[in-house]
């Protein structure tokens, strides 16, 4: 770990009507910079690679995690192989990070679904009816 620090940061809102920024208050942030494996080649001397993470509140482990994932996502610019690892896939990382959208699918399960369920029920009954008929026909023969 290169650096891990927690601090208060001022939040300013730039108000066009006033022509200057107004300070609204302070928030706590945690910031992390990691130093990772070095790279290099014949033409480029060896150098360490870095990852960066920033998170709200006093959340050290989260900031470190973000820094590690940030480093993993930089595989293309560092000329590394695609290992097929989820952490190398921006799409996977973004859809699994704790963004607010991720909660929506769970939230919606609380709503009723009986119309879909009824449709599914009709289909399962139909399939079971046919399976029973097939067994009975076999038994009769």
């Amino acid at each position: 770990m290169g650096e891990l620090r927690i601090g208060a940061v001022a939040v300013e809102l730039d108000i066009p009507e006033l022509g200057f920024a107004v300070e609204l208050g302070e928030i706590t942030l945690t910031e992390c910079e990691t130093v990772n494996q070095f790279t290099g080649s014949k033409t480029q001397p060896a150098q360490f690679t870095r990852g960066y993470g920033l998170s709200f509140g006093q959340t050290e482990r989260k900031a470190i995690s973000v820094a590690l994932v940030d480093r993993a996502l930089r595989w293309k610019e560092l000329g590394e192989d695609d290992e097929g690892a989820p952490a190398q896939d921006e799409e996977f990382v973004l859809s699994h990070a704790d963004n607010i959208q991720a909660t929506g699918f769970l939230e919606h399960i609380k709503l009723p679904h009986y119309v879909d369920f009824q449709s599914e029920l009709e289909l399962v009954r139909k399939l079971r009816r046919q399976a029973t008929q097939a067994t009975e026909t076999e038994a009769a023969q």
Binding site: D89, E91, I100, Q101, T103, G104, F105, L106, E107, H108, I109, L111, P112, H113, Y114, V115, D116, Q118, S119, E120, L121, E122, L123, K126, L127, Q130
Partner: protein
């Protein structure tokens, strides 16, 4: 006077959404990304549909909101109240009287007309999601119309179950081009999407996508010639209004498992009963 801007969203946001709607109408079935806003309700509770309604409503409109076919379900009640408060528009439960209808999981039984807009709430806009998890790949598949995989899924269903095993959110192809998720409506409702006189808009707030069907668009449910698409429903008539042809909910009425079938579309059922239909029609 309300403390909210008309229909909650600011005018710039509504413009942005209207631009996305126009693009979606110009390319039927294509998923248009839009900058979905945070709404004062959880994602997954119709934030996409609500943003479409907010961008579509005018003060003269009359709004109807449906969840599971009914006007008195949690989601329907809260969204209707939301617009009563923020847009002060008139509301109704009668399908023919509404100019804007927001719905979750059903298409009304009554035919829609050219002066109506039907807005669907969509949880997962990508019909290929469960065949190909990567959005990068599915966009490429849409771009190149590579939809063979969709039929492979239907083939596998028939090989395993003897039937196509999708009963809701049944995929459709729009005007022979884009494959589209009709939102989780029962497949019974699929035929109503095609050649519909009303504008149909689909909004997925969480996934930030809008898509649309302009009036009288051809919408075909995917199938095989020898295993054609079948819009199915419970083989019964409504216990209240006697209708044989409407989509039915199955209601358990006591602890002994006694059940009755009633119309899922509560307005349709009420209208029939008001017109004098009843259980004698069921015979």
């Amino acid at each position: 006077m309300t403390d909210y801007n008309f229909a909650y969203l600011d005018e710039q946001t509504k413009r942005m959404i209207r631009r996305a709607i126009l693009k979606a109408l110009a390319i039927p079935g294509y998923q248009v990304p839009f900058a979905s806003r945070e709404m004062p309700m959880p994602y997954g509770w119709g934030t996409g549909g609500v943003q479409l309604s907010a961008a579509t409503l005018t003060p003269e409109d009359r709004l109807k909101v449906i969840d599971q076919g009914a006007d008195d379900t949690t989601n329907a009640v809260s969204i209707r109240k939301f617009f009563e408060k923020t847009a002060q528009v008139a509301t109704t439960t009668r399908t023919p009287e509404a100019s804007v209808i927001q719905t979750r999981h059903r298409v009304p039984e009554a035919p829609l007309s050219a002066d109506q807009i039907l807005i669907y709430q969509v949880p997962i806009p990508e019909p290929l999601r469960f065949l190909e998890p990567s959005e990068v790949e599915t966009r490429k598949m849409h771009e190149l119309s590579e939809y063979g995989l969709m039929h492979v899924k239907l083939y596998e269903d028939i090989a395993r179950h003897g039937h196509i095993a999708t009963s809701y959110a049944y995929p459709v192809q729009v005007e022979g081009r884009y494959v589209m998720d009709p939102s989780p409506i029962p497949k019974f409702d699929n035929p109503k999407l095609s050649n519909c006189a009303a504008i149909q808009l689909f909004g997925a707030g969480r996934e930030q996508r809008i898509y649309a069907l302009p009036p009288h668009t051809s919408v075909v449910s995917l199938d095989f010639e020898d295993h054609p698409f079948e819009p199915s429903k419970a083989d019964a008539a409504c216990a209240l209004c006697g209708d044989h042809d409407s989509y039915l909910d199955e209601v358990i009425t006591d602890d002994a498992g006694t059940r009755m079938f009633v119309c899922s579309d509560t307005d349709h059922c009420t209208a029939r009963r008001d017109a004098g239909h009843g259980t004698e029609d069921a015979a």
